[in-house]
Symmetry: C2
Subunit: 513 residues, 2 copies
Amino acid sequence: MNEVAGRRARSGGGASRRAERTAVSFESARFIQRNIPNFEILNEEALQIIEWNAETVLEEIGVNFVENPAALDLWRAAGADVKGERVHIPRGLARKLCATAPSSFTQHARNPDRNVEVGGRNLVLAPVYGPPFVRDAEGGRRYATLEDFQNFVKLGYMSKWLHHSGGTVCEPTDVPVNKRHLDMLLAHMTLSDKPYMGSVTEPSRAEDSVAMSKILFGNDFVDQNTVMTSLININSPLTFDGIMMGALEVYAKANQAAIISPFIVGGAMAPVTVAGTLTQVLAEVLAGVAYSQLIRPGAPVIFGAFVTSIDMNSGAPTFGTPEAAHITYGAGQLARRLGLPYRSGGSFCGSKLPDAQAAYETANSLNMALLAGVNFMLHACGWLEGGLVSSYEKFVMDADQLGTLHHLAQGVMMDTNGQAMDALREVGPGGHFLGCEHTQANFKSAFWRSDLLDYKPFETWAEEGARDTQALAAERVKKQLADYHAPDMDPAKREELEAFVAQRKSEMPDAFI
Amino acid sequence: MNEVAGRRARSGGGASRRAERTAVSFESARFIQRNIPNFEILNEEALQIIEWNAETVLEEIGVNFVENPAALDLWRAAGADVKGERVHIPRGLARKLCATAPSSFTQHARNPDRNVEVGGRNLVLAPVYGPPFVRDAEGGRRYATLEDFQNFVKLGYMSKWLHHSGGTVCEPTDVPVNKRHLDMLLAHMTLSDKPYMGSVTEPSRAEDSVAMSKILFGNDFVDQNTVMTSLININSPLTFDGIMMGALEVYAKANQAAIISPFIVGGAMAPVTVAGTLTQVLAEVLAGVAYSQLIRPGAPVIFGAFVTSIDMNSGAPTFGTPEAAHITYGAGQLARRLGLPYRSGGSFCGSKLPDAQAAYETANSLNMALLAGVNFMLHACGWLEGGLVSSYEKFVMDADQLGTLHHLAQGVMMDTNGQAMDALREVGPGGHFLGCEHTQANFKSAFWRSDLLDYKPFETWAEEGARDTQALAAERVKKQLADYHAPDMDPAKREELEAFVAQRKSEMPDAFI
């Protein structure tokens, strides 16, 4: 079980050491380290065409950095041709600037057993991000509250296959917009010991995220280490708005990681073809990552690609589609050629319920993301209804499925035990393997097993109420929230964080836009 | 839409030509021709180890050909060391014998537009095979009848993404065991014009399948062409029973295709490790295919692998698991190195209902099969509850998802239109692509679109009854069965087939075992 670490939370201080002896934290798998190849859908010629075209886009069409005169100055100084807010980047310049970004980085968690390595052959899984609504089997669909937010952080902390606590697991709509980030960060910092994301909705909120992280980790530690990975969306096509760039500037200066991510519904925010979309994705990431390196060379960044297709009949975004898979595979190849960690994939679906549609679309998305070489998967569990809803049941359903990705990534063991020739000799034609020595020695770890899905005989299942997956998941949610207990934490640190939140809230009037 | 063929059924004869002018058959996609790479999980060294070990199994452990003295004679004459019913095959002999099997073949349908090419980069999709039960949303789970069988043949005929009518789409348990095959074949031949499978449960039933095919296609045509692909299961581990081999002998002699397929629940019928299972799969297929070539060199065969994992807690087979994926990927590589078409994959799941579990497991299975290079996918739709149940709703749900495989397999278009540079130039930063010329020219074919799943806004969906996927599928089933009409057929041929069935039934007392 070397993949599972962190049975016990670590922390400093005498009081917490005493607490540690009584509190047991929940089992959590180590981030995925792939031992399988990536799926490479584009050949060398196709990759070169897309790379050439992306540079053409940057030079000839250019990108807009809006309401951000300082960014225009930086670009001008770097050698770009700036006309108004339009930045034309000469062929090769953006790629050259990207070269200072690290190919992988460690994001630290307050429990060091839960640090994650972002990049290389690794895959880090983080939960759904952004939905204003939640849904559960009993209560249906409703606006999310801070209590929901805290519940999802708890579920994430207790999910064995989830490596990261995420960011806006749902929008706590009962808290003023300008104060939400404080409560969200406090929840991630106190209710979980997994790594987390910072706020990006305002540069000042990014500053608060850094300040709270300094309380949690210490000033020096945060100066020297990455403790947050935050989501910087590009306003596709080819537009970098001032607020998002302001947050990026805060994080890059503080050496904190950012996902630089086009947000694209194909056919609306990008061309309707896969190669055209990949061209735009690459151009946008090149410009965004280059800009991060203009702010601070060496700042950790991730090549992001949130791309899905559209239903041309209704205009609705569609998920788990073949075209989304093509783009996810292709963008992974482009990211690796650029030497950057890659963010894509997730438990995407358009369904309103955690039903078969949701699961088909989600499984399509999760599988492609694993094989596409994704390094950081946001939305890995809990996503419903095109991202409008965080689903309690789907959160635990998807989180269970994430186990399959861990086992898929292990590849095939080819040692003597894996070859199993002794078992074949022992059993022979017409025998069976259940009782043989090799099976007995390996059965515990040989096959992945769901902790949630139904494997019972029909009769037992029928007697127990003929429950579907949603019903099983609803029970799991209740049990997990009932079983939850917080990871150890130095009470002084918690008080300091709470005091910071109270102080910052008192400095601002409530705002709901 | 060059992927879609056969809007009209073709047939001979004046009466049928007149009928043709009024009857329109249903749209059906051409078999998949992949334009994407395969996913190769094993490296050269691993493949060589498995190939070496499989030859060791054949030589040292051997395989059993039971109750089949003629087979033992053939093996002895070919150079094997036969002790009792145990056949020890010297290293290299089986592989050498396999060399006469074709690397691909055409299976003819009575509508030539629906012929399929089995092998190469192609993928042919056929429905679920074998369940004794059916389930639908209204009637629940019950023993299957001939009416159910006919319904599933109709649904398969009307499924755009299904290329093959299959075989035992469910067991018509209301018909005597020794007469079922006649009614099943008659249904495939008259209610559909897609290719079909023959009976394998007795050599005489294989003979009947050949005889009925000769009525349908003509004697000469069947002698010279393959018109059936039938499923020959190996009794794993390493056992070839007389009945299945008897059916194989009939088909091989008649130049009709057979899938030579280990049937393995890992840990029970094969070692609990992936490499050990692959070794056994390869040994079994080598022996089975070699035997088919001893019967008739050049007889068309398929390298089969039905392999899944087991839940070591309950002993239940489990589906859509990582280990099943590893085996499916690895067996594909072994099949290609052997130069044989490859059968694996399907809409596998263990769930009792067409719910999220069913869809996760199915999507995992379908995706891996596409990337594993499968050429013939039995069970591609309708499989439920570990294969005990043919589900009406899941049949149409899965059949819809098969569309994603078609589009995935197309790969990425890299021509000028695909590159979409004009669209990027036309729209520019901050614009949107919905109205641009390139989008208008491409939107109809750019993105795969489900014909079944829900893409509606939340409010519309709620007003229309907040239906889940099963409910949408139940409606689809009813509509399809109501809309069904049979493909054109020469009435004289139908009468001849019906007379054959009546004659054969009259020659045998009913048997229910």
